[in-house]
């Protein structure tokens, strides 16, 4: 799976949880909670969806490492087999 595939997967799952986000204006460094207004339930649902889709189990202690699109893509790329 390429970095671009992972990026696409992350954005798709994010939009599934927050359909009002415009993918064209989604910034690399937009913070999931501070900028995109996801609550803790949304973050948990996103992590659950990524686990299902990419088979990457993100422990709670690693949540800060997926807090933005840029962070999440590099974190997930290092872990997807």
């Amino acid at each position: 799976m390429t970095k671009e595939d992972i990026r696409t997967a992350f954005i798709e799952e994010l939009l599934d949880i927050a359909p009002d986000i415009d993918p064209d204006t989604l910034g690399e460094d937009d913070h999931l909670q501070d900028d995109l207004e996801l609550d803790s339930m949304d973050v948990l649902n996103l992590v659950t969806a990524l686990h299902r889709r990419l088979n990457v189990d993100i422990p709670e202690t690693d949540y800060p490492q997926i807090a933005t699109l840029a962070l999440a893509v590099s974190y997930l790329t290092a872990r997807v087999t």
Binding site: A18, Q33, H51, D57, P59, E60, T61
Partner: protein, 395 residues
């Protein structure tokens, strides 16, 4: 024989629009089954049945805006035979409910907003009565296409009747505006009728956080807990101990209940708020509470809540979530008598066993109906809540 009617889905609800039947004549139904879907200001709500029986007749058409109490269907009780066609038992049986003009609804006592005047009259618009204008807007009918029979050719409500039957299922022009109106009506009523008072306490949630972290460490994401589930559970246990903050205020008194149905305020993306209840949260484990909350939040956002969830809450929790302000004194959801407002967790210097330590704390503010409770009961609720959060294994 029972009549299945348009339920009141909130103190502010005047009417709902029938958008889907999930049963047909002859179907067996049981208490709690979803029979129909009604579009309200708060989105689509699945309407549940209150009795066992068999559907004899559907009495309302899809797309009809019907007032609270309008008959929707006739339900035969178990073993009950269908009545002779010429002598229906129920008086309403042989008349289909008429769609309600907005003006008639506005006359209902205790209803503040007047839907008929909420629609502005643009320049050059066709003359029409306010009720006809409101109804035409609901049905998506252009008034200019109607021949009016009123003074100076003004379109009257009855002129729309011809067109009504062919109208498509009603789509509210702006769901967000409608929800705003529903929130405004409920909150204004709350502040006008409920004498609120507030008690606050800042609670050390470090033990609860660590307990959740430890529980989640070896669990897949789908089985993880959130701190919020512990707050719901602590509220359920505290409410059970302090019955005067749990229930609904009806006919001048708190109606006693031994069930705790916790309303969970859910912010909808794009704005708006709903507070569906986790039914019988008092009988749930922490894990059941968590999965119940996930389901409730999902359905609240998808717009598929059940009628019991929007009407049977006995106390509500409103939480500011992981990021935000540290305290909130909330407005009680009528007819409930208390609301638990939780600020965002904050790292603060805290004294633990005589030494200052950094701890994560949450400020709880309990809003209470003074008609029902005094400070003593409110303080007792907070103490119960606090003791469970301090010992999460008791949840």
């Amino acid at each position: 024989m029972g009549i299945f009617t348009m339920p009141s889905l909130g103190a502010d609800m005047e009417a709902g629009t029938l958008v889907e039947w999930l049963v047909k004549p002859g179907d067996e139904v049981h208490r709690g089954d979803v029979l129909a879907v009604v579009e309200t200001q708060k989105g689509a709500i699945e309407i549940e049945c209150f009795e066992d029986g068999r559907v004899l007749e559907l009495q309302a058409d899809l797309g009809a805006a019907l007032p609270v109490g309008a008959p929707l269907a006739l339900i035969l009780g178990p073993g009950e035979a269908a009545p002779e066609p010429k002598e229906p038992e129920a008086p309403a049986a042989d008349t289909k409910p008429e769609a309600v003009p907005a003006q008639a609804l506005a006359d209902t006592p205790e209803v503040a907003p007047d839907p008929a005047v909420a629609i502005p009259l643009p320049h050059g618009a066709t003359a029409a009565s306010p009720a006809a204008r409101a109804r035409a807007s609901e049905l998506g009918i252009d008034l200019a296409t109607i021949t009016g029979s009123g003074p100076a050719g003004a379109v009257l409500l009855k002129d729309l009747e011809v067109r009504k039957s062919s109208a498509a299922i009603v789509q509210t022009a702006s769901p967000m505006l409608e929800m705003r109106k529903a929130i405004a009506a409920a909150m204004a009523r709350s502040k006008q009728t409920i004498p609120h008072f507030y008690l606050s306490e800042t609670i050390d949630v470090q033990p609860a956080l660590e307990w959740v972290e430890a529980r989640n460490a070896d669990r897949p994401p789908s089985d993880r807990l959130l701190l919020g589930a512990l707050f719901v559970r602590a509220t359920a246990l505290a409410a059970a101990k302090v019955p005067s903050v749990n229930g609904q205020f009806v006919d001048g008194a708190l109606r006693p209940t031994d069930r705790v149905n916790i309303g969970v305020a859910v912010a909808l993306r794009g704005g708006g708020l709903v507070a569906p209840a986790l039914i019988d949260a008092g009988a749930m484990s922490v894990d059941e509470t968590m999965s119940g909350m996930r389901d409730l939040v999902f359905r609240a956002r998808a717009g598929r809540l059940r009628s019991s969830e929007v009407t049977e809450g006995t106390i509500t929790i409103s939480s500011l979530g992981a990021v935000g302000a540290e305290a909130m004194a909330g407005v009680i959801f009528p007819p409930q008598v208390a609301l638990v407002g939780l600020g965002a967790p904050k790292l603060r210097p805290w004294i633990v066993e005589g030494a200052v330590e950094p701890r994560t704390v949450v400020t709880l503010t309990l809003s209470v109906d003074h008609r029902v409770s005094d400070g003593r009961q409110a303080a007792r609720f907070i103490a119960e809540f606090q003791s469970h959060i301090a010992s999460p294994e008791t949840l």
